[in-house]
């Protein structure tokens, strides 16, 4: 019986061809708890996979609440012509499981594996803590994920808000600075609102 997340992911990503990545992430922070990169590709950005998967999980949660408030967030499918992205939120937690698989891999082979990860990982998840990221950090990280030229987005936000880049990087902002930050990110992305409430 696997003892920790790494062992769980290793066990259930083996034996089926076409599994590229299996990971457990935190949807409130957009981070990786544990991941198994089955591809021989060091350039694969597993952190980015977790970050974008978090956004999809969060967006799906909001979507579910529009039609059926109170329902648990369930299966999400995404991907491209060549790769499929399968995700499930772990009920009553801020965590989720992602499998990235080759598009030729059949769902009936992969889903049972994903469900086993979902079931067995629950006991190993960290307890909820109060050190979830603050709103400024969530906003800054959102901007880094979605703004063009992400390497320079902090500098752009500094010019837009008048807040020094190192303070933005540390995300130690006054409450009064959140609205200008929020508005600046909206302006950069050209959208009316962000999926992060302040």
């Amino acid at each position: 019986m696997p003892k920790n997340l790494d062992q769980i992911l290793e066990k259930y990503s083996q034996g089926i061809n076409g599994i590229h990545v299996a990971l457990v992430g935190n949807s409130s922070e957009g981070t990786v708890l544990a991941a198994r990169n089955c591809l021989d590709n060091n350039d694969l950005d597993v952190d980015a996979v977790a970050a974008y998967a978090s956004d999809l999980i969060n967006a799906n949660e909001r979507f579910c609440h529009i039609f059926d408030p109170g329902t648990a967030v369930d299966f999400v499918l995404g991907g491209s012509k060549d790769n499929k992205l399968l995700m499930r939120a772990i009920p009553d937690t801020r965590f989720f499981v992602v499998f990235v698989v080759d598009a030729k891999t059949t769902m009936k082979d992969v889903l049972p594996q994903l469900n086993k990860v979902l079931k067995e990982s629950k006991a190993t998840l960290p307890a909820a803590t109060s050190n979830e990221k603050n709103k400024a950090q969530a906003l800054v990280e959102y901007a880094k994920r979605y703004a063009p030229d992400p390497t320079f987005v902090l500098m752009r936000l500094a010019l837009k808000t008048g807040i020094a880049p190192n303070r933005l990087e540390r995300a130690e902002l006054e409450d009064s600075e959140l609205q200008p930050l929020y508005d600046s990110i909206k302006d950069i992305l050209g959208i009316e609102r962000l999926p992060i409430s302040i």
Partner: protein, 423 residues
């Protein structure tokens, strides 16, 4: 001047190349090539701070610089009627790669129809798949349109213009600019023209390279880089403009000056973003040039080692109207020492400002390390796909080259000298 002559107007014949100083001019204004990556990033940087009037900087500077060039063009071509002057302005706009524009109106104002736009097209191709745009983008064209009416009907600063409809926002073809007479004429400042150019090239120590800089210059100067039927210069997988360089100078120095006055603590951030506009420009444009058939035909046969790739890059730099760029010394994968003798930034700065305390060639400070980054970090020799993901990976990998301007002509040195390394 007859209508048939206007149609046959060959703007290219009026481009003067100063081969010694490696500068170009058109109707008395220094002109240089830059790509849409540079144009968009620089404009975006100037528009970002809400506490300065970025739109004013862009539009007024365009009006000022274009006023000088248009007036000289009308005189050169003996234009007499309004129609002739409108036609020359449209041809000049098209030739320089800004798009297709037509004018109508009278001494009270009028309309400019921007059927095709470098900035709108460039923004759409670079950003539209990622973000939305809610604000007009053609600030250069707005200033150009106001300048046309200034020259024809009044004097500099008598007209203002506004973009009423922009294709980057509406996602439908065509932009509309309305020009009207200003209630009170604004005090605007004409272009300093060629600025303070060098008397003669400085004798620089010749680097150990197989690259014949002059041969690269001649090959690039011979390319027919002019606006196509859409008024766009599509070359090397980017959209180029043949821009009056004083527009860039004026907007970047005014921006830094306003930032210094209003938010001095963010001045270095502003400068760093201007440097990045130079970096991203060289990365994409030079990268694509280094992957082009023209490079294969002209430069590749001279290349014997990795340092020659870098020299080839600086030979290209000195072919674009930017002044005389030469790498003095290159340590493979480690360091480059580069001289610029009479670049467009210093020519303007010396003609416009007193001697500064700090070095001011912001574009060059970003462009020089970009050549090192594309050769040694981007491994351009392996012909990578030059897309945004590749560019971001370059920074994520870290250990990128940066440059310092150690000698500065704008501060009294005979020429500018830069060191690019990984420090």
């Amino acid at each position: 001047m007859q209508e048939t002559q206007i149609k046959e107007l060959d703007i290219a014949q009026n481009v003067i190349i100063d081969k010694e100083r490696k500068l170009m001019s058109l109707y008395g204004e220094p002109v240089i090539f830059h790509c849409h990556h540079y144009n968009l990033f620089l404009q975006q940087t100037i528009l970002d701070p809400p506490f300065i009037n970025g739109i004013g900087i862009l539009q007024d500077s365009s009006q000022e610089i274009n006023f000088s060039q248009l007036r000289a063009a009308f005189i050169h071509h003996n234009a007499e009627t309004v129609e002739e002057k409108f036609a020359i302005a449209s041809e000049l706009f098209k030739y320089q790669g800004f798009g297709i524009i037509s004018f109508s109106g009278n001494e009270d104002g009028g309309t400019a129809n921007l059927l095709s736009s470098h900035y709108a097209q460039g923004w759409t191709s670079k950003y539209a798949s990622q973000i939305q745009r809610g604000k007009p983008i053609d600030h250069f064209a707005v200033g150009f349109a106001a300048a046309v009416f200034d020259v024809i009907y009044a004097d500099l600063g008598h007209f203002t213009a506004i973009e009423e409809s922009c294709s980057a926002v509406t996602k439908t073809p065509g932009c509309i600019i309305q020009i009207s007479k200003a209630p009170v004429a604004r005090k605007l400042e004409e272009s300093p023209g060629m600025g303070k150019i060098i008397d003669a090239p400085v004798a620089l120590p010749r680097a150990d390279t197989n690259i014949d800089y002059e041969a690269v210059n001649e090959a690039l100067w011979g390319l027919p880089l002019a606006g196509d039927d859409d008024g766009l210069i599509r070359a090397f997988n980017v959209l180029l403009t043949h821009m009056p360089s004083n527009y860039y100078n004026r907007i970047q120095y005014r921006f830094v000056e306003e930032l210094r006055q209003v938010h001095p603590d963010l001045c270095n951030v502003g400068k760093e973003l201007i440097r990045e506009s130079g970096h991203v420009c060289v990365f994409y444009t030079f990268g694509n040039i280094m992957e082009s058939v023209e490079w294969e035909a002209v430069v590749q046969p001279m290349i014997k080692n990795d340092r020659d790739w870098v020299h080839g890059g600086f030979a290209v730099a000195s072919s674009l109207g930017w002044g005389r760029w030469e790498a003095l010394e290159i340590e493979s994968n480690t360091k480059a020492r580069v001289a610029i003798d009479g670049n467009y930034e210093t020519n303007y700065h010396l003609a416009t400002y007193d001697e500064p305390n700090d070095a001011r060639c912001f574009f060059a400070q970003g462009a020089i390390p970009a050549v090192m980054n594309i050769v040694y970090n981007g491994k351009i020799q392996e012909k990578p796909v030059l897309d945004e993901a590749f560019y971001e990976r370059l920074f994520k990998q870290g250990n990128v080259f940066h440059a310092r301007e150690l000698k500065a002509r704008e501060k009294g040195d005979p020429y500018c000298e830069f060191v690019a390394d990984r420090s």
